[in-house]
Amino acid sequence: MIANAKNSDDVPAIKVQHLTVSYGPVPALLDVSVEIPQGKLVGIIGPNGSGKSTLMKSMLGFIKPDVGTVDIFGTDVSQVKGRVAYVPQRGSVDWDFPITVREVAAMGRYSYRRWWQDLKKEDFRLADEALEKVRMSDFKDRQIGQLSGGQQQRVFMARALAQDADILLLDEPFAGVDAATERAILDVLQETKEAGKTVVVVHHDLGTAAEYFNLIILLKQRLFGFGTPRQVLNQKLLSDVYEGNLKVFAELARHPSDEVDGG
């Protein structure tokens, strides 16, 4: 299967070069370039409307950029199929869609079958395993709208796990979930990273960012910083991006970044 092809280790998992994307007269992203190495847990941080979701959609090949390229393991994103799995922002999902938990998880297996083929028993077994891993097995036959916020998040996690892709992109997985679910999701992400995958997470709690991620992308239309939490979460960069929002610094102070190994 293509999704499991071996990569030479030095090629970056995601390489974004001079990316500019616009929906109207003002670009949502302007000249963004980053190289995300393999096997890291990476956070994308920035205020609302700073283009985090747009960057993510570009990495998925959903948005055609005005300028620039996105390469996945050295291949242009438009040529790459199924190597990137995705957990959408909660607000962008149609929760009334007639689909059950198990069917969503099984979508993770679509990339392994030709589009006209039915899914096999094996696929449903893997989907069930993924649901087990996020502890959602008891809700298999529920329609997805009839779950709590944290449970909904976990269903899409299961879908991404079932896809077993090399790169995992998550758009605000911690928004609107309780602390226990946040911890559980983080554990799965960490496990996924340990297994050699690259995980990229849109996150907007600065307070926990340093604790959660190896690398941080600080974004507000342009790239303001990319590196270890210690390099990026400094007052100068943050005040450039957040324009003197004091509360942010107070929260940051709760989780001192210098306790974290940034490698």
Binding site: L60, S111, W115, A250
Partner: protein, 510 residues
Amino acid sequence: MADSMAEFFTELQLNYGYLIRPLIVGTLVSIVCSVVGCFIVLRRMAFLADAIAHSMLAGVIGGYLLMKVFYQQDSNLTAMLIGAILAGILTVAMVGFVTKFSRVKQDTAIGIMYTGIFAFSAFFISLGSVSKYIQIDIYHFIIGDIMAVDNSELWLLAIVASIVLPVVILFYRPLQLTTFDPIMAAAIGVPVMAVEYLLTACTSLVVVSGVQIAGVILVVALIITPAATAYLLTDRLDRMIITSAIVGVLCFWLGFVVAVFLGTEPGATIVVMMTGVFLGGLVFAPKYGLLADWIRKSNTVPQEMMEDVLGCVLRAKGKSVPVTEVLKHIKKPAPRVRKSITMLERQGLLDVDNDKVLLTDDGRFQAKKLVRAHRLWETYLDRTGALPKEKIHDTAHLLEHISDEKTVEYLDDKLGHPVTDPHGSIIPNDSELVVGKDLLLSVLRDGNRATVVKTNGVAASSDLKVGEQITMGPRTDGGQIWVVVTSAGEKLSLTHDEVDAVVVRLLEDT
């Protein structure tokens, strides 16, 4: 016996034989319309289907004129059909163009385009010089006339059905995925735009065939009404499609029979049936119907009532409370209050023994959070002065149920971490205030002991050192000034901004 049966069928054939063809056609058309309708409903494309139907008139005329002028043929159905489909696709393209390149939004663009095309066609064929050429029965087109379907049309509709149904079955997964999550679809290499064009082409085909039954104005109902009914009845797309097809066909048969016996307009009669079934579904659907909703609501106890019970038991300060006492305090129907108590017991928040209730540790934790939210809201309402005093308690009581962590934290910070509410009652402390946890100095209360973990910016000027042990004194200056006693016994007076910049780790009280 066998003779009379045969006679019966001959009789039937003689009297009603003319009905067989329209019945077969209608059944086919209902199935394809309702199946494709499922995707149209889920993608919110109903208005677009309507637009396609109207702009078809232009295509039909175009196709007709083409055949007439070049081949001297009246009414070549194939040409008219192809014209209609082209017109549909053109409408979609123009709507896309207008939406993309102007600030006009999609619904307006659709509205302008289809009425424009429809009006142009009507204007064109009513021109004296053109109307000589054209013998299209506009009325047939607008109202639809299933009884007038001839053999060639029957074939055509059969072909449409045999194209559209296999396409939907073959492309089921791409259609499902692009409808539900186009971003993931793109990521696994599904050509999202191509699938959308495919569905638009199917919609055009389905609209063209539906117009034969119900006419331009009503054809959208054949497509979306059965699908919407099925949407109320099922939780899975595959079942929704099958249910929709069944609803569509049954309504068609029913409407057809009624129309034959009452001599009414068949298209309209069929749509009346479909609308009736939809309304029935709206009320009686087992899960998403209004009735089910109403029953569910009257059976569950609202979260608020359970929270009120918790708050009531907390005020007893650790003693157990007789259930009758709880019932007296909460002015709601007794059976439902009892039910909330049972639910709370099941959730492990209350212990019920001998008709007396006691908070568990978990329950006390939850209840405290609630009381904290209530008193903070009261303080907030009191300080902002937005409400008359006598209304504050009741409003706070409603607001306390908005007790999510972030909101409460915001209120607390904004109010300067008050210790007491306007009535002088103590506001329970932050639920994060746990020994061993890192916190901002501002949330500490009188008597708390802690180690300084980090000082930031503003506080650097004061004399707190990392690693130092401190004890909190009572606030002064109406709660505006935090008093911190250092290990050396020195008293520091700090402002809100200063204490917000210090992180401490809470120690056991001595």
